[in-house]
């Protein structure tokens, strides 16, 4: 299917969960230096669950749409479950085939999530290789 399907452009133009959060439990920003895409993720954690999620960012339609879709998917999930989400979980939401060229665009949201959760646990950030590889 077309990479720029209606559903993706809809999310890119009208993103969900985008905006500020007053008192996030953790916030974390990841950027994609090669294209200047950036996503800052803010999580409100309550009882080991992602109670609320907000994000800010700019970049290509794929990175922004993926974040928008992913945010809705994460709400209510336990941090344990979220920490183990594979790249597949993002690709399934996008429903279009993502070639190697755009993998990092699509997975910037997952990368930001993984490292936000690591920050929450006082662990060092994981590399792109780890994000893409599992």
């Amino acid at each position: 299917m077309d990479l720029y399907a209606e559903s993706i452009l809809d999310h890119a133009h009208h993103p969900l969960c985008k905006g500020p959060m007053k008192h996030p439990t953790v916030s974390h920003e990841e950027t994609n230096a090669s294209c200047g895409d950036s996503l800052e993720l803010r999580l409100l954690i309550k009882g080991k669950r992602i109670n609320d999620i907000r994000w800010e960012g700019e970049g290509c339609a794929i990175s922004q749409a993926a974040m928008s879709m992913f945010a809705g998917h994460l709400k209510g999930m336990t941090t344990e479950e979220a920490a183990h989400l594979p790249p597949r979980s993002v690709f399934d939401l996008l429903k279009v085939s993502i070639g190697p060229r755009r993998t990092k665009c699509a997975l910037l949201c997952l990368h930001a999530l993984k490292n936000a959760l690591r920050k929450l646990n006082g662990e060092p950030a994981q590399s792109w290789t780890e994000t893409i590889g599992n």
Binding site: S34, G59, C105
Partner: protein
């Protein structure tokens, strides 16, 4: 005489394909004419052997071809002596060679290296590495809004006499602007600073005469000149090279080795340790021979017309902003732009699906993009095999892509 683009295109296997791409990314890599591919193929099939070693005819042949390429490069950039030409892996290695040999031997803490804001990362990072290692200071030449360099910044950077090198691009790989090299080199020399010209882009768009320019170093890659990857050139005015310590150590770069010490070979061998890129040197010679069939004024006129056409078509697209002077008289090779609300990667991805090859991103010039206050741009670059029809098609598809992405 106008270039016969149809005849030119027939010499490139890729453009003889049934559905050739609309290739507007020659600033990243030039396509390869058949004679380049054939020259390398023939070497591998019939003349493969190492250089400067064997005592048999085949080895002589390889050495002769390799050295003949050095002579072709020398003549192409009008250097005085063949031993002023060092073969490297590419422009990046050439600049690193200067930083890591001349730089380390001659620069000390507090010395300055002057760079322009237009530089490619390969002419920034080696100097940042010396900043970390030795504590040199980088002094930047800023630009005006139209992309022209602020000459007052050069004088300011040279004023205290601590700047030892001015290292600038001959042609911006983003804006397409051409810094006034002779003027810059003269100012640098007056302040007793050496000069390095990054000719990576310039080499395929303008004739270069290093003797007339009077630069001290000049670097470029073969692949942007329709040659193979894996070969580049460092020109260094003699006798500079004989005073610079060697770069990599190994075979070929020594006269004598004992258990205690080594005596380096004379330049250029001194800087060509190990088996050099022989096939690539042969390919580069073929590329230069291909290029020099056409008078520069015809190439320049053709590319000027293409860029003028591209700028006109791009300007007519609403919400598209051209970076730099937006005038074909002031640029060469490429023009870059941004479109409000459309990310360059989305645009070029969609164009790519139509077989239209444009480059998106920061083009390895992040300081320039930061200066322009943008994260990324889209670059359209032209060469002598491109046609106005390709530009028309590209502009049309850009409009379509915008309509789709902005809907």
């Amino acid at each position: 005489m106008p270039l016969d683009t149809a005849a030119i295109r027939r010499q490139f296997p890729i453009f003889r394909e049934e559905h050739p791409p609309i290739y507007l990314d020659s600033a990243a890599m030039g396509q390869k004419p058949a004679n380049v591919i054939d020259a390398m193929d023939t070497y591998y099939r019939l003349a493969a052997s190492n250089v400067h070693r064997g005592m048999y005819a085949l080895a002589d042949e390889a050495t002769n071809r390799y050295e003949a390429s050095r002579e072709t490069v020398r003549a192409f950039i009008a250097a005085k002596h063949r031993d002023e030409i060092v073969f490297t892996k590419g422009a990046t290695e050439s600049i690193n060679l200067v930083a890591k040999t001349w730089g380390k031997a001659n620069l000390k803490k507090g010395d300055g290296v002057v760079l322009s804001i237009l530089e490619h990362h390969s002419n920034i990072v080696p100097w940042l590495q010396l900043k970390e290692e030795i504590g040199i200071s980088l002094r930047w030449i800023d630009m005006e809004e139209d992309g022209s360099l602020r000459m007052a910044d050069i004088d300011a950077a040279l004023k205290d006499g601590k700047a030892k090198l001015v290292s600038v691009t001959g042609l911006s790989n983003v804006l397409g602007t051409l810094p006034p090299l002779s003027d810059i080199i003269e100012r640098a020399h007056r302040a007793h600073a050496l000069t390095l010209i990054d000719a990576s882009q310039l080499i395929a768009h303008r004739p270069i005469d290093v003797t007339e320019l009077n630069c001290d170093f000049l670097a470029f890659s073969g692949h942007k000149l329709f040659g193979p990857t894996g070969i580049g050139v460092l020109y260094a005015r003699s006798p500079l090279l004989s005073k610079i310590p060697p770069f990599l150590g190994g075979g070929g770069m020594v006269q004598r080795v004992t258990r205690e010490e080594f005596l380096p070979a004379d330049p250029p061998a001194k800087f060509e340790a190990g088996t050099p890129p022989i096939a690539e040197a042969i390919g580069l010679k073929a590329a230069i021979e291909w290029f020099t069939q056409y008078p520069w004024k015809d190439i320049e006129a053709h590319e000027h017309a293409l860029l003028a056409h591209a700028i006109e078509k791009l300007k007519a697209i609403p919400s598209l902003r051209i970076l730099g002077p937006a005038s074909a008289d002031e640029v060469a090779g490429c023009v870059s732009f941004t479109i409000e609300g459309v990310h360059p990667h989305d645009l070029t991805d969609i164009l790519g699906r139509q077989g239209i090859c444009l480059r998106a991103g920061h083009h390895c010039a992040q300081p320039l993009h930061e200066r322009l206050d943008i994260g990324a741009s889209t670059r359209l670059s032209v060469s002598l095999y491109n046609t106005p029809e390709e530009i028309d098609r590209c502009a049309e598809e850009i409009r379509r892509a915008i309509a789709k992405l902005k809907k």
